[in-house]
Point group: C2
Chain length 336, copies 2
């Protein structure tokens, strides 16, 4: 407290060195446990550091070391619990190797997601990118620059990725509904150009092939509760007795919208979600959905990332399965 600092800011390694009457090199070594000399010197350095309230500058350290000890995660919507789970899994896995995770959310401006990705990437050592809506060509233009890079829910040659088998999951949900006697289904789709939406549609195509008597009407939707609520009227007009929503948020909004229109779930219409977010079990009625191992997804993404950072070969791309969870929002077809 009795010492003047160089700038308005924090004391630097030079201040500590001066205070302890040693060289900056010695302070550095002491602070990093690489000091081999006399214990009394080390003690003096530590005492000075404490006295001055010294904190090493991460910035300078990172620059000198060439590594920051942090990786970036870009997600389209942190408000979606599914991505929070990915974040949690990634953070935990990375922490066990001494890495921090910095999150950036592109909700506000999907348009400059590439910029966002590029910027946060350059604050960190690597990037885990979850950008379902980014056009392929934008991604192609970026992937070299973003490297080391791991993709979530999206594939690209030369870039390790982990993902969910949305096609299989939605197919299972559809089969579940078909098994309940439904023949006229509707699908409230995800955001335009969403890769995982394309996967779901592909899964639905397979269902159509193996169930010739079943129709699946596709409707525009989105990824949020509001999108779901807006789709309610469209859904009613299709006359479908069962609806597959893009994800749980859409399903929740949709159920709410249907209720407002006097349509009962599941008596009049069955509704399913996707993701099994924590709230899915608390909705009215509780949501039938496909459970997705999101934390595992995050952990496995780190697995690839660690290999990349070590210069090893990452594990092959992986597609984790989703599993149907039947709750109260789906039921047998009742109306003639």
């Amino acid at each position: 407290m009795t010492h003047a600092f160089r700038r308005a800011g924090f004391p630097t390694i030079a201040d500590v060195a001066e205070h302890a009457e040693v060289s900056p090199a010695t302070v550095s070594r002491v602070m990093n446990g690489r000091f081999a000399g006399e214990e009394s010197v080390a003690d003096r350095v530590r005492a000075s550091a404490t006295a001055l309230g010294y904190r090493p500058s991460h910035l300078a350290r990172s620059l000198a070391l060439g590594r920051t000890g942090a990786i970036a995660l870009v997600v389209p919507d942190l408000g979606n619990p599914a991505f929070q789970a990915v974040l949690a899994g990634l953070t935990r896995a990375a922490a066990s190797d001494g890495y921090r995770v910095l999150v950036a959310d592109s909700t506000e401006s999907p348009g400059d997601e590439p910029d966002l990705a590029s910027e946060v990437r350059h604050r960190c050592d690597a990037l885990v990118l979850c950008a379902p809506r980014m056009p392929d060509d934008r991604l192609a233009a970026l992937d070299a620059e973003l490297s080391p890079l791991v993709l979530v829910n999206r594939e690209r040659a030369g870039v390790p990725s982990v993902g969910i088998d949305y096609a299989g999951g939605i197919a299972q949900l559809a089969e579940h509904l078909i098994g309940l006697g439904h023949e006229h289904l509707a699908y409230v789709a995800g955001p335009e150009a969403s890769v995982s939406d394309r996967h779901r549609r592909r899964g639905l195509d397979r269902v159509r092939e193996s169930n010739p008597g079943v129709s699946i009407h596709e409707l525009p939707g989105g990824a949020t509760t509001d999108d779901g609520r807006r789709a309610a009227d469209n859904v009613r007009q299709t006359g479908a007795t069962a609806v597959l929503a893009f994800n749980d948020l859409v399903a929740i909004g949709l159920i709410d919208g249907l209720s407002a229109l006097g349509v009962r779930v599941p008596d009049d219409v069955s509704v399913t979600g996707f993701d099994d977010v924590p709230f899915a079990r608390y909705t009215a009625p509780a949501l039938t959905t496909a459970a997705v191992p999101h934390e595992r997804l995050g952990a496995d993404a780190w697995d690839r990332m660690r290999a990349l950072l070590r210069g090893e070969a990452p594990a092959p791309d992986e597609l984790l399965p989703a599993s149907v969870v039947v709750r109260a929002s789906s039921g047998p077809r009742l109306r003639a």
Copy 2:
């Protein structure tokens, strides 16, 4: 693509300078729009930068500039939509001044929250701290080091802060329940040592004073749905006809737990939450709660922060009001 880079990594400003046959200084100026010389030179530099795929190192730039252009936000639980809203508000406000927000979540290890805060602080220019459970003395030991610092939901002399009037909010909720005829209330408390929990208790004390005939039983709880569910049995045993939960998550879990015990909400017991998270309207029954302007909280935090960063005097501390939202989870006292 035909050029070898110095390290395995990205081309540096020196590479661009060499390629364009100018000095690094000129490249720097061109890249930052501070270049005043001949346009042809600037063009050459830009061309070289593009050709090499040059991206300025944020790290080096920050070190040289003494500012990173980012601020850190530490929250206790990103899984809680309330904190997501704060994040959203802060991010948006900061973005309008050209700042990015980096989030860190201390869910995993509340114990080293101080370390976390200190570390992310030193990656950024400033810190917005939302750490309701950090002991006062730990905070006191830290606040100089963390400066510039803005606190959320917690006050400290000399540190700007913004917060919610939890005392007033919970008092209004209690009055609402009392108005419905309830006389035996219970409060499922928040985490031990949570500052905002203390505020709520204080609000309840005021209610007790002005309503001598009313009892409010305090029960241990927590901040998550699981904590709420665990409290269900305790709640039933108190015989209370109305329960104030620490927040919406706890309320949701509690309602679920009560249902499992055969207790109906609101017929047997009324339940209220706090925060009005987006899901509160979708629960069964829809949750009576206190709406909190979380985004505003984030925006106002930035307001203080901006002043701090500019060396101006921040606006005085503020306590935003919460407002009761009556939905279906609270109803008149029915049982004798």
